[in-house]
């Protein structure tokens, strides 16, 4: 009897768990009705700086350690835009790779000195479990990314 009383709240909580549909939401609800192409942002990022945009595309990479960023592919080969979210606030699963995502965020510009760029590359190599080669960093870097607010990832590609 005592055991049943203890286990009942757990079962009730499990029953109340929202069912997983075809779309999984992360963070804030998407508010924009129109999407902006990743290619357009990458072609002229300064024009979008500080603007909230919604992009759509295949998730081609996810932060392996903390799920704190993902990369959405552009329309052309080689294009992608990284979406960085606040650590722990939104956590993207590695299983999102290859799935279609709609993401909203604010376009931001990051400027790295040579030393910062080296440190950033070292950190990325660590995250991917690959060997770090300092010679791949040749100078200061400017990176454009989205400060992610919310995302919807489809269960299908």
């Amino acid at each position: 009897m005592m055991f049943a009383a203890a286990i009942l709240p757990v079962l009730l909580l499990a029953a109340c768990r929202p069912s997983e549909g075809e779309l999984t939401m992360y963070g804030e609800e998407l508010t924009l009705e129109e999407t902006t192409s990743v290619s357009a942002i990458l072609a002229d990022p300064e024009a979008y700086l500080g603007q909230q945009v919604q992009v759509e595309g295949t998730v081609v990479d996810v932060c392996e350690m903390r799920g704190c960023w993902l990369a959405v592919a552009g329309e052309k080969d080689g294009e992608l835009i990284r979406v960085k979210v606040e650590d722990g606030v939104i956590v993207f699963p590695m299983s999102a790779r290859g799935l279609m995502a709609r993401v909203e965020g604010v376009v931001e510009k990051l400027e790295f000195t040579m030393d910062q760029a080296v440190e950033r590359a070292r950190h990325e190599a660590e995250e991917h479990g690959t060997e770090f080669d300092p010679s791949t960093v040749t100078g200061p870097e400017t990176v454009y990314q989205l400060r992610g607010l919310g995302a919807v990832i489809s269960d299908h590609s």
Binding site: T58, V60, E64, M65, R66, G67, A73, D77, G78, L80, G88, V89, V91, M94, S95, R97, G98, L99, M100, E126, G129, H156, S157
Partner: protein
């Protein structure tokens, strides 16, 4: 409240909170060790890589489904895939249900990366790092308060030379000194 009665309630609170906190303490302790070493390993996923060499891919469109299926067939990685991506002109990435294949088209060098959840640990980390948010935030706050109460009531569990006025005082002092020592060392 008489001294004897106060002692009795102290024991009851310490005992029952102890029972209630066992499950949560196991979750937080195991996850704590796991995420403490996040620089050395991935606490959520087991990522394995297999390196293989396949026939170089010369097709005009390496992203064509028949070409991708041929690559997967050569690697013995099934036939279904989610999508593909070309990070650069010489590389093709194929996204599978449980991993990614990266192929250097000209050389046929391929890496089949498989990602599996660390069952149990991933869920423990999810709770420990408060990725759930919502109601869990308050549950975690209650647990923290319960731990505080456990610590305080623990001080007064025993009387006499083994209690807080004897041996207990020394052990408590050591416990307080440990974080202070590390702060002095590192800050």
């Amino acid at each position: 409240m008489s001294k004897r009665r106060w002692r009795k309630w102290n024991r009851v609170v310490h005992r029952d909170l102890g029972y209630l906190c066992v499950g949560l303490t196991v979750v937080y302790a195991i996850s704590g060790i796991a995420v403490n070493h996040v620089r050395d390993w991935n606490p959520n996923y087991k990522v394995t890589e297999v390196h293989r060499t396949i026939t170089p891919v010369t097709a005009a469109d390496p992203r064509a489904p028949e070409v991708v299926r041929h690559i997967l067939d050569e690697l013995g990685a099934g036939s279904s895939f989610r999508d593909t991506y070309r990070p650069d002109a010489s590389t093709l990435e194929i996204f599978l249900e449980d991993g990614t294949v990266t192929v250097e088209l000209a050389t046929g060098e391929a890496v089949l990366q498989t990602v599996r959840d660390r069952r149990g640990l991933k869920e423990a980390n999810y709770l420990h790092l408060n990725n759930a948010r919502g109601l869990w935030t308050y549950m975690a706050d209650i647990y923290a308060a319960a731990l505080l109460l456990l610590a305080v009531t623990g001080l007064f569990m025993l009387k006499g030379k083994l209690g807080i006025t004897g041996r207990g005082a020394w052990l408590t002092a050591i416990g307080v000194a440990i974080p202070l020592l590390f702060l002095w060392l590192y800050m």
